[in-house]
Symmetry: D2
């Protein structure tokens, strides 16, 4: 305890909420002290409010926490939010106004002009946008909203980042095969995916097509100039528990041979690796040479679920190159993404420990 | 009996062989009289040689047929072949030389310059190529080889045909999610697809990229001038028993609005429909308007497994349009395709009944 | 039309409701004229109220029917009910009071002393109970409630019936592996059954243990004397779309050799077969000799989904014999069961056509 | 290195072989120095001979080991064998004759009168049998064969052990739902289990029915007096990657209330726990109270895959009590079982380190 940041979780009983709690169980910097849920859960202790759906037991520390209503004040230093998009914006803004740092996995505020859509390996400089947010929104000191992208978009943007930086991009085509946990719980009815594939995920294609351009955009003063290449996304739900897979094609702005492309991907490393952030994987991108990799069951936990695995890098007959990417959608694609964001925000001084707990710790 | 064509099947105990036997059980023109299999099966009766893996019972008529070696002569008028590619060419050629019409599902001879790669709705005029085949190969009278395309390619070519004819095509991008039965039996190990997707199917991407251009090619004299637009294919195996799904994008040679594209697809009908061939579906392409269709489990049996279902027709940000297609890979994609080919060959006089059986029938 | 019985369906948009509509599409005696659903559906046409989840299209005839509230009067001669247990009893009784024959798939009234729990092959004589029901409940003439058993129980009772009649039973042990469609739609969340088995189905074990004894009970005057052997049921949900499987052990009252047991099962036939009822399968029980049958995917549609397939009949070390049974849970286990019940009720004069429609038909 | 036992693995490229290598990667006492495989693999380095099918990478240490033929001598102190039953006996005996301790997962020698069928928590005293083995078989000093039971049998015997010791048993009925990895790789064809259950696993029912009685038997002098209660097993393969589940009923010799039974199971602990063997789980049996547990996906990794999870403990109408058990079939059911056996054999002095390596280590 003591010197750790106290953490609140909005949407704590959901699929992403459970993953957050699992990943934070032994985190060196963060410690869950507040869990909030829907009306149905409010007032119960977490062990009773939450049907734990992850392998392994519910962390003992959270079992006895009483589920609070999503209303300030919370006894914590920062808040992870995985609220449904329908209510996320108003709740998150209320907490930000009250001075809490909000690290959100919800889609509600992602495309706001003054809200960073953050992947620490890709666009940490977008955090400068927070100055704009703080100057215009009138949040109490310390309060802000930072979001992480959609689960498929994170995987896409992470693989595009080194390509875009090195060769430029003029077109991207992505076809996803997404895991069931992406829809939460109860989520997809089993009759819809047994011996079946669904060619539709609500709003998913639009999110990928838009968010990617913001993430890869450039800061001009305090605003983002979005990337301008077209992105085409077709999204499918397949009968896989965890691990989004995507078949990706890219057209480059500058010619590149296969070797150069492979090098750009395989050697990619960025600020979180340099700063040695706790949840940063050693390699954000892992290249596999086997003909039949990546595969969800074998590769989703690579780098503790924080690495994207890339394989089948080949020339393409219509665009320039193609490859297949895979990442763990509730770790790198949601809970782990939010935690890595928080770690960066701490490391860069956007979130700081209240004097009281520092001193107790120091002494 | 009597007036029906007697049919032999090469590879009769395999996945496609079983489907052929099932589809031919009550066929008005064809009747299975010879089954051939591998060394292991030879000499056994079919009921013992074949582990029947389709719902429903093995048709009683074939149960007692003795499995022959794949060597002429066969007591039949035409032969369906679903042999493994490694041995198909030599066996099929041996039978053709002996004067048998070979309707092959094997990939071995598909790209030969004088072998039609036939989809009756798309390129029936390619049958003229048989004159070249017969003039150069020295097969005994009546002997020839006609092939059907790869299972995914049939689905692709059927959906492209009306687009290509109406608007032209300058690029095609296809990403497949293919069913397990496409790999035959025992085929894909269950551990490889449970809670998993495989991003690799041997030779599949190459087949789709090449065969499509031959199928959509134009006859010039007795040779084909292949279509020239680039095709990009990325292929995946998913945990579905039957029914290949594909996310397809197209770039058109002539501008077209969405309505016109939809009309071209939805109104598509061709020679087999006009000739009322027994296995021809009323609609080769069925357009579904629901947001989440097509789906393998719900749509694979449309048109008796011979229709391709198309949905999610939308403008695309990188190419011009995109849609999702689905078809039954062992019916329209293999056994049913071969049977429809045979029906066309009979209807157009390429295969005829021996005088002896005609007379018995007529009298 | 004309001479057919007009049929109403309570719970028409649900999983069993859809199966009823599918099975009744071309029924020679019944024709759906009324569909009723929940508040959410009420007032919409069926095509809009119902998300059709069966392979094949929604039957055109029902598409335009307007969904009614579950309140009499209905424009029909009999009513199939597949309402949730929570509301079934009051709604069904209201319609029975109003003079409608109710053929119910719901569990609500199954164990009532004066309500037949009917499997036509097993206990058609239980219909005499209706005299008691009609004399005590004060339903309007023609009104009554007949139920079919729980999906797993039907399979069990059908296989036990010939054993019980021939050898008697002193103990039955059943362990089920049940399909997803048994839980309706949305039913079981996909995350709960992907790469998983659930060892719990609410109330299922109790239903099997109790209903079996009523079904195999004997009519004494107008009441049932239930069978008295103990039944032990352990129930599991497995990742199968349709088709309940059960491992069954039996202890016999009289010694019997394996051959005799097998004969009793294999030769079983009953009243519905003699009367040639439309939905009665030629063989209620199909015995398979292969080591690895029955299997859901291969055997669930045997006898049009109305036969139970039995295999692996062997001596048992703890009880006397054991075997594995399989049946289609939404056909023989629900919708088809109800329809066969209705056919028997018509054949035995419990339901009759209103004079008006008879005459129109006869003339 | 240095002081660790050097370990050879027979069948090193198979499913259990890979699991052995994974579990031994960081083992404090054992270190893999020899891998042996079939003709096909022989002479290749392990990284090339083995298609690694477990999540996570192949341990770097074994990658470069050259695959040997299964013929002595091996450069190691003990040998784990997971050979196919057909060749296991002759190979294992050859190595034992040459003085190697064989810890075998194969079924070949399990029922030999002088071969311990060992579960350290259940019957460690059976190791005395080795004296008989050594006195009659003429193996070179240090050579012997110890086996672990069949995967399902281990789970069964572990749950029965505390019941049998406390209350006695007069009958056991088990119905299994077994995972795919139990059949090895390629193992079960995907078409056989997609949307399906298989009611047959070769020899499995016999193994469970026989091995259980040997395991729970009592040593009399140097021979085993097997337990005598009847065991009835029905076995099924379900669509689950890892984790065997079983519905179990027991009839007790002495009356016991539910509480007492639950206590016997929940408080079970044994020698490996007392000795603190490295692979021994803290609790061999974990009792879960939730209505719907155990579940393969959630519980198979409990205790590092070495605990059996038990739930749904209830009175039974035919036998006395029933419950559902689950364990990881390739860890507690195979590779982990063998390793725990080896740890016990070391702890009890049956396997000792050659003087040479001890001294190097000590100094």
């Amino acid at each position: 305890m003591s010197g750790k940041f106290q953490v609140g979780i909005l949407g704590a009983t959901g699929t992403v909420g459970q993953r957050l709690i699992q990943l934070l169980e032994n985190h060196p910097q963060f410690q869950v002290t507040v869990v909030a849920g829907s009306d149905r859960s409010e007032g119960k202790i977490y062990a009773e409010a939450c049907i734990w759906k992850l392998p392994g037991d519910m962390p003992p520390r959270v079992k006895g926490l009483r589920v609070q209503a999503p209303v300030p004040p919370f006894e914590c230093d920062l808040i992870f939010s995985s609220l449904p998009a329908t209510i996320a914006q108003s709740v998150e803004e209320e907490f930000a106004r009250a001075g809490y740092p909000i690290i959100s996995n919800s889609s509600a505020c992602r495309m706001h002009k003054d809200v960073p859509l953050l992947i620490p390996e890709v666009n940490h400089d977008h955090l400068r946008m927070l100055r704009l947010q703080q100057s215009t929104r009138g949040y109490a000191p310390g309060g802000f909203i930072v979001t992480n992208p959609n689960c498929s978009t994170i995987m896409l943007a992470l693989t595009l980042a080194p390509i875009y930086r090195t060769f430029g991009l003029t077109a991207v085509v992505i076809t996803t095969m997404q895991a069931l946990s992406g829809a939460g719980y109860p989520g997809v009815p089993s009759l819809d995916v047994t011996d079946n594939v669904l060619p539709y995920i609500q709003n998913e294609e639009e999110k990928i097509e838009r968010e990617t351009l913001k993430i890869l955009g450039q800061m001009k003063n305090l605003e983002i100039e979005e990337a301008t290449f077209p992105v085409s996304a077709q999204c499918h739900r397949v009968n896989v528990s965890d691990g989004h897979m995507a078949a990706i094609r890219v057209r480059l702005a500058k010619p590149a041979n296969l070797e150069a492309l492979r090098d750009a991907l395989g050697s990619f490393t960025a600020l979180p690796q340099k700063m040695n952030l706790y949840s940063a994987p050693e390699k954000p991108l892992i290249i596999r040479e086997e003909l039949d990799r990546p595969q969800p069951r074998l590769d989703r936990s690579a780098g503790g679920g924080m690495s994207v695995t890339v394989g089948r890098i080949l020339p393409d007959r219509v665009l320039d190159y193609r490859f297949v990417a895979l990442s763990h959608n509730t770790i790198r694609g949601a809970a782990g993404a939010a935690i890595l964001n928080a770690e960066l925000l701490v490391a860069q001084g956007y979130i700081s420990l209240p004097r009281s707990r520092i001193s107790r710790h120091e002494i």
